[in-house]
Symmetry: C2
Subunit: 226 residues, 2 copies
DNA sequence: GTCTATACGGTGATAGAC
DNA sequence: GTCTATCACCGTATAGAC
């Protein structure tokens, strides 16, 4: 492990090395939260996962709290990158863009128990830690706004429909979060494919005029993950 | 505070006194998780909230871990009692029973940030603590089964429809969880009334033949909480 | 049953060698 | 940059008086 690390380091600038080492430690924090839980995660458990000393962790993040905040930001960045790139790759059609946004939240890299459990750990602490709250809120809002734009285009942009877009976005995004919780808790019987099937039929119910295109878009997702 | 406690104690059996004191400490645990978070909740913070000594908390629950498990069980019991009583009070009509189950999850006593944040704290720890997982899973399953019965009656009980009930239940319950998360994180702009409105319109979409009765049932909820 | 006092281990963070 | 050694503190849990 130490060899692999050193190999990865060689031939890079100082700044790049620093960034890589920080990311390694953040990944170790995620692993630790998975193994022993958020409450039991200490500098020692993180250091052990990362294969560095406890002081090494502090050197790179100053304090434990800063490390946890950076870990949350890392999750948030990865999430934002995922839906942004999905949107960038999609056509201009709002139905396709909505499907792309939904499908992005079920990509294996984003949507797996390892990551979901960490999100839940931070959400659980968010009420008592304003910084977590802010990061989670900003991440959620950016994504919801992206979805709002597409729903507004599809439903009709007049102000008289504003509550309808707004509710449609809350409905779709809320359902995604519900699927995530079920993937976390009911992992023995509930799979990503179940979640995707439910999301597809729900989108078809919400946008019955575009049922065929939605089916077509979800077929593509199924092919990609097969 | 101590006077109020002693007043509550007088004239009760030993067992009842014990139960009351235990419940007071559990309530204090919930308050502590709200104030300082799950990770920072210690015997000291709980004891301070409860107005007893640290050793007093241990006396009643043996260990901190046992206290946390009892706290989760307390949440779970309250939740189960809520939907069970709602079901018992409902008529025999499946639509009314489904509405009753949904509305029960948005009762102020069950659905408020104080309680939701504690649920999220436990969900966040669940992956690394099998006992939490088991309690959460059992609670979820009982409730989902209750919903499944009603959906099966409404959709048609043949085996050929099984995936349809199952998905419908996952859809409704998933959406409820999504609404809870939004109530937790987006509390400034998203209210219980927003969640109820979205749930109503969603149920109407899922069961279009019963839209009128659903509207009627949700009117009753609105009147009750006004 | 409830308290005060305390044992004991672990925790976050620092100092200083290399 | 990374380590070992160390600190002061705080965590859980116990002992024993009342």
């Amino acid at each position: 492990m130490i060899d692999a690390r050193q190999k990865e380091m060689s031939g890079r600038s100082r700044a790049a090395q620093r960034a890589i080492r920080r990311e390694q430690i953040i990944e170790s924090t995620i692993r630790s939260i998975n193994k022993v839980g958020f409450a039991e995660t200490t500098l020692a458990t993180v250091a052990k996962e990362a294969g560095v000393s406890q002081a090494g962790v502090v050197f790179h993040f100053k304090t434990k709290n800063a490390l946890l905040i950076e870990t949350l930001r890392h999750l948030s960045d990865a999430y934002n990158e995922s839906w942004s790139s999905a949107l960038a790759a999609a056509s201009d059609d709002p139905v396709q863009r909505i499907c792309a946004l939904v499908a992005a939240d079920f990509r294996p890299s984003i949507c797996n128990r390892r990551i979901i459990s960490v999100w839940y750990a931070f959400w659980g602490e968010a009420k008592s830690r304003p910084t977590y709250m802010k990061i989670c809120g900003a991440s959620d809002k950016a994504r919801a706004d992206a979805m709002r734009v597409e729903c507004a285009r599809l439903i009709g942009g007049g102000a008289e429909n504003e509550q309808e877009w707004s509710d449609t976005v809350d409905l779709i995004d809320g359902l995604i979060n519900g699927m995530w919780l079920q993937l976390l808790l009911d992992y023995a019987t509930f799979k990503r494919s179940d979640a995707l099937r439910i999301m597809q039929s729900q989108l078809q119910r919400v946008f019955p005029d575009h049922a065929d295109m939605i089916a077509h878009e979800f077929e593509k997702v199924k092919v990609r993950s097969a």
